[in-house]
């Protein structure tokens, strides 16, 4: 069996930077090829290589403060969180983002803000990272495919991000978009999804104190495969709502159409609240596999955050608004 070797980063000490980057790309490409051969050749067991964070600049986030709403459940390992991802921009298999996301360049990065707000414009990631103290928040993450993890995110409340742009009273929704760039995101050469990926929230959902602007995990800046350099984290909704690698934020009056609803509206809706009573045609939502556990566990309404968010949906039929 072929084992993918992690690129040897210590080389940078003896090699000029430009050459080193080229070589690193080559080694990474070779590694990816080897991994592809291993996984395709043997079918399924290609996963025992140690996959490092794909962001070569992975830095510790300084001054991380402990945030509220944490859970004391056992966290999933850094390796689980960074090697089992749905991020179709890098391929549709769970291991693809870890293998291919090295092509994403999270710096320099800017976000375009537009629509119903007082301060539209282009903002860069260095500034964005300074707008509020970065907190650690340990949240449950429940995927619509009936698996879940516990992840120590780093970031700050989405409300503090959005308030900067002074949304007007006509801003009823906020829409987010992921980068489109087939060079950085090779999975986008396939029509797996209509690119760019987009997602939306009602303003009150976006401003809810649980909703996070994700900037890191495990105390470091976000690895590429987890949506570097900035993403959404909404812990009471299925994972696909938590859009990654955001480049555009639009404040709108009408409900935006999110990618998965556009793809398969029978399976995915706008709200996508974790709800064990409303089944997905392919996956029962009544139970879930917490990665690392043998038995499934019961899925909790709103992923266990009901006491904080149920009021957002008072009077709504959640069977219809799935």
């Amino acid at each position: 069996m072929l084992i993918k070797k992690a690129p040897d980063l210590s080389e940078s000490e003896v090699t000029p930077k430009a050459l080193f980057v080229k070589r690193r790309e080559f080694i990474a490409a070779a590694g990816v090829t080897a991994a592809a051969v291993a996984t395709n050749g043997l079918g399924l067991f290609g996963g025992n290589e140690e996959v490092a964070a794909q962001n070569p600049d992975a830095q510790k986030l300084p001054n991380l403060v402990k945030g509220p709403f944490g859970t004391d459940e056992k966290m999933n390992s850094y390796k689980d969180v960074t090697t089992y991802n749905n991020f179709y921009e890098f391929g549709t298999r769970k291991e693809d983002p870890a293998a291919y996301a090295h092509t994403l360049r999270p710096r320099p990065w800017s976000v375009v803000v537009e629509g119903q707000c007082g301060k539209p414009g282009t903002y860069n990631i260095e500034d964005i990272m300074k707008w509020a103290p970065i907190e650690e928040r340990i949240y449950r993450m429940r995927c619509v495919e009936a698996w879940s993890m516990v992840i120590p995110w780093a970031g700050y409340p989405m409300s503090k991000f959005l308030e900067r742009f002074q949304p007007t009273s006509r801003a009823k929704y906020v829409e987010f978009r992921t980068l489109v760039d087939t060079k950085q995101m090779p999975g986008q050469t396939e029509p797996a999804l209509p690119w760019p990926y987009h997602e939306g929230l009602r303003m009150d959902e976006a401003m809810h104190p649980l909703t996070l602007l994700g900037l890191g995990l495990y105390g470091e800046v976000l690895p590429n495969q987890n949506g570097a350099p900035l993403r959404l984290v909404v812990p009471w909704k299925y994972g696909f709502k938590s859009i990654k690698s955001i480049v555009r934020v639009s404040f709108t009056e009408t409900e935006p159409v999110n990618t998965w609803k556009k793809m398969q509206s029978a399976e995915y809706g706008f709200y996508a609240n974790v709800n064990p009573q409303v089944d997905h045609p392919r996956w029962s939502q009544g139970s879930e596999r917490r990665l690392g556990e043998f038995f499934r566990r019961k899925t909790l309404m709103f992923n266990g955050y009901g006491d904080r968010v149920a009021s957002l949906y008072a009077g709504m039929d959640l069977r219809r608004n799935y």
Binding site: L44, F45, N48, T83, Y84, M263, P281, R282, S287
Partner: protein
């Protein structure tokens, strides 16, 4: 009965070759995925080992179904009639991997938080409402009578003609299995692997159709 006990190395006749060499080799090949599965339990199976194991047993079931279906065309293509001697064995292994796949699914999906809590309504709902599960279950259920009647005794009891007719259920199994794979992976996207298996099934079954039409034409002429 042949007198096998007396044969020395250079005197092996074709039956002895079959029993002593080819059969064990085929058995070993059929057991290799199982051996690898057991061995791999000691390796790192990734973040979701249960999914890895389910997918592994699933894909090997499908591969064994394909090999079973390929025996007759290969025999026709190569003229090696002895190939048919291994068809039942390979088919039984397809059933074996399917059973493993099914058991893993049942145990790891419907026991909630321990063996004392079995979610029977959840199982029934899964088997009756989810298209990809219905397809997989159909494929599996249709293999049961085939496995049960795989013995020489049953061939005799049913008669070769009826037995062959019954065992055409494998065609439906193959189609349902591909559908299961296809739907499991996605509803709208066209995933490469399920599509390729679909093409393979179309070739293997299409060839049979072509042959039976050609034969009928020939007998009419």
């Amino acid at each position: 009965m042949r007198n096998e006990g007396l044969g020395t190395r250079d005197q092996l006749n074709s039956t002895q070759w079959r029993r002593r060499v080819f059969k064990p080799v085929v058995w070993l090949l059929c057991l290799a995925p199982l051996a690898y599965l057991i061995y791999s339990l000691s390796l790192d199976l990734g973040a979701n080992p249960i999914e890895t194991v389910t997918n592994f047993t699933g894909i090997w079931t499908l591969r064994f179904i394909m090999v079973t279906l390929a025996v007759t065309p290969l025999r026709w293509l190569t003229g090696i009639n002895q190939l048919v001697n291994y068809r039942r064995l390979v088919g039984l292994f397809a059933f074996f991997y399917a059973a493993l796949h099914f058991i893993v699914y049942i145990v790891t999906t419907f026991f909630i938080e321990g063996f004392s809590n079995f979610d029977a309504p959840g199982l029934v709902a899964d088997l009756t409402t989810r298209p990809y599960i219905i397809a997989g279950f159909t494929a599996f259920v249709l293999m049961v009578p085939l496995a049960l009647t795989s013995t020489t005794g049953w061939i005799r009891r049913l008669g070769g003609k009826n037995w062959n007719l019954l065992h055409r259920l494998i065609y439906i199994t193959a189609m349902a299995a591909v559908l299961h794979y296809y739907w499991k992976v996605s509803v709208k996207l066209v995933p490469v692997n399920p599509r390729n298996y679909g093409i393979l099934v179309a070739i293997l079954l299409g060839w049979r159709l072509w042959r039976s039409v050609a034969r009928r034409r020939a007998s009419e002429a």
